[in-house]
């Protein structure tokens, strides 16, 4: 059970080898988390993440494999996670995502579809099952990894950012639907984060590391704010960027 400070004891991570998710799990294990289920597509990476969670204090870890290009399999993957834990789940982190270098694949319709499926369709299907199970539990939190890119989509990554934008907006409504159920959903919107997903990309202003993001997440979980920005100042930066006229935005975004 989660405690008064929003510190969970049991966690399910969908996309368990994500660098940001791993940093968050480490911090939560150092606080109260004792049981963690990590789900993803690469057993070796999941095992590594599980060992890390145990190093930071988890006593029980499980791994579950799934393929995020198959949204119709998402409910099975989520069920496997909940059943592996065998007790109420305090926190579900949805951290599935695929970025890559869009310029190399943007003319390939199959890749375009894959980007939409992995970054949008699979998470949506998974969240549907997560919602059903947590509502039955009467308590629990959902943390969905969105991105500031969802707020204003850049030319350089519109396939990724566009899918995240869809997920981000959907989650706003999903969070509203949870009102009065004892379950809450929070949206994480990090800026540019140094991680394996962004290796080789040029850094931009307000770039952070995964540990700073994890720190912001832990603080955000202690409260009830709908959106967790990381770093927090991006809330204001993106308020401004969202309202920039198109020509200026393109100049800023393409730098």
């Amino acid at each position: 059970m989660e405690n008064a400070f929003g510190q969970p004891q049991t966690i399910v991570v969908l996309g368990g080898s994500s660098d940001i998710a791993r940093a968050v799990v480490k911090k939560l294990c150092a606080a109260r988390a004792h049981s963690v289920v990590l789900a993803g597509r690469n057993q070796a990476l999941l095992d590594e993440a599980a060992a890390e969670a145990r190093d930071y204090g988890a006593t029980t870890t499980h791994t579950v494999l799934f393929d995020a290009t198959e949204p119709l399999d998402a409910a099975r993957a989520v069920s496997a996670c909940f059943e592996a834990l065998g007790e109420p789940v305090d926190l579900v982190i949805e951290a599935v995502g695929l970025l890559g270098k869009q310029l190399e694949y943007e003319d390939d319709p199959t890749m375009a579809a894959t980007m939409a499926i992995v970054n949008y369709a699979w998470p949506v299907a998974a969240l549907s099952e997560v919602r059903r199970r947590l509502v039955a539990q009467g308590h629990g939190r959902i943390l969905v990894m969105s991105s500031v890119a969802a707020i204003r989509v850049r030319r350089i990554s519109y396939l990724y950012s566009g899918a995240k934008a869809g997920l981000d907006r959907l989650c706003d409504g999903l969070a509203d639907s949870l009102e009065g159920t004892g379950v809450t959903l929070q949206i994480l919107r990090p800026g540019f984060v140094r991680s394996k997903m962004t290796t080789g990309e040029p850094e931009i202003p307000f770039t952070t590391g995964v540990n700073e993001v994890a720190e912001n997440v832990v603080h955000g979980l202690a409260g009830s704010t709908r959106v967790i920005w990381s770093p927090p100042i991006l809330r204001y930066v993106f308020f401004a960027l969202r309202h920039l006229p198109g020509p200026i935005w393109r100049k800023v975004a393409n730098r």
Partner: protein
Amino acid sequence: MKTRLTGWGRTAGSLCEVETPSTEDEVERALVAPAVIARGLGRSYGDAAQVGGGLVLDNRGLDAIGPIGPDGIVTVGAGVSIEDLLALSIPQGWFVPVTPGTRQVSIGGAVAADVHGKNHHVDGSFARHVRSMRLVTPTGVHQLSPEVEPALFWATFGAMGLTGVLSEVTLQLLAIESDQVLVDTDRYDDLDEVMAAMVEGDNGYRYSVAWVDCMARGRRMGRSILTRGDHATRDDVTNAARVAPRAARLAVPVTAPPGLLNPFTITAFNELWFRAAPRHRVGEAQSIASFFHPLDGLRDWNRLYGPRGFVQYQFCVPDDGAEAVTRVIARLSQSRVPSFLAVLKRFGAADPAPLSFPQPGWTLALDLPVGPAALAPLLDELDELVVQARGRVYLAKDARLSPSTVRAMYPRLGEFAAIADTIDPQRHLTSDLARRLRLREG
């Protein structure tokens, strides 16, 4: 009906099905639910009286009050509040022998938490005054007393409802001659002074409690107001009436904005509170309500802590661990985590209940608003101090202990869990607290 329930601290809520049984049969039928726990008036601070996705049995339907016998023995339904019982008993010259800082607890809740009052050093906790009780469990109804099924009788005190649902409790009341308390008040400029005065003089008083200012720093760290007293006799006071306290007329209407209680407002409040107290005053007559239950004058005062709520941290340590009290107050005062006036008192002999909180020595209770990022790790640090001093934290106040610390604090948890398994082998009885601390696993 499904309702989101929290404790008095308004943190970590969960959605529960709530039913209000009014007979033992109804309770028994309800105990088939896979996860079920009783709830009284919701004054436990944390998650003891809720179970997410499960069934909560509101005990207020069990509200019969028997007549008070000539020897002061009374049998009441577990859902009767101390306020209701006092309304009946004070005019007849009887007092509930142990009351916590509020009258708004049910008798069932008082047993479940094994509550203590300002007289613990003399009269012990609630358990000492219970003659017998009826407990409904998933495997049947038990009539319990210190002589009949003593293991289950004692296991129920402090167990936060995990041995079953109480239907009625038979209590020995305390004879009083008036509704007044004669109070001596003293102000002390630091913690060592007040602790010395309590060790020396508490045994001369039935009731004793000190309010400590945890925001004061430097030489004034731990400055305190000590109030001690006893019931006034008919001869002590000119207007020796026996009028029960009336219900609160003031209430906090809405949840306060976040941050209303911050280091500045709390420091200012504590300063005023401290200065308003006399340096030394003897024999002042106070009403039962103002001496025992000062916060009951303001309904829903927990809303003052804003939407994120608050936690109460109450621990006890044996006399040889008294230094832990000083270190906790020093650590709080240094961290600037805001805390309202803290309550310090001495505990007397413990009762034989495996999960009962009080043990001889000191207890300190602190109200802390949730919000400062430093608070969670600070309280983890205080846990370590308390464990090192062989002390423990009160489960009725807890919303944040971990399964491992609770085992270090309550070494008899395994004994308790084994007894609970005898009457509830399928472990229907559980709560968010029990799940968080794995109390049923022993």
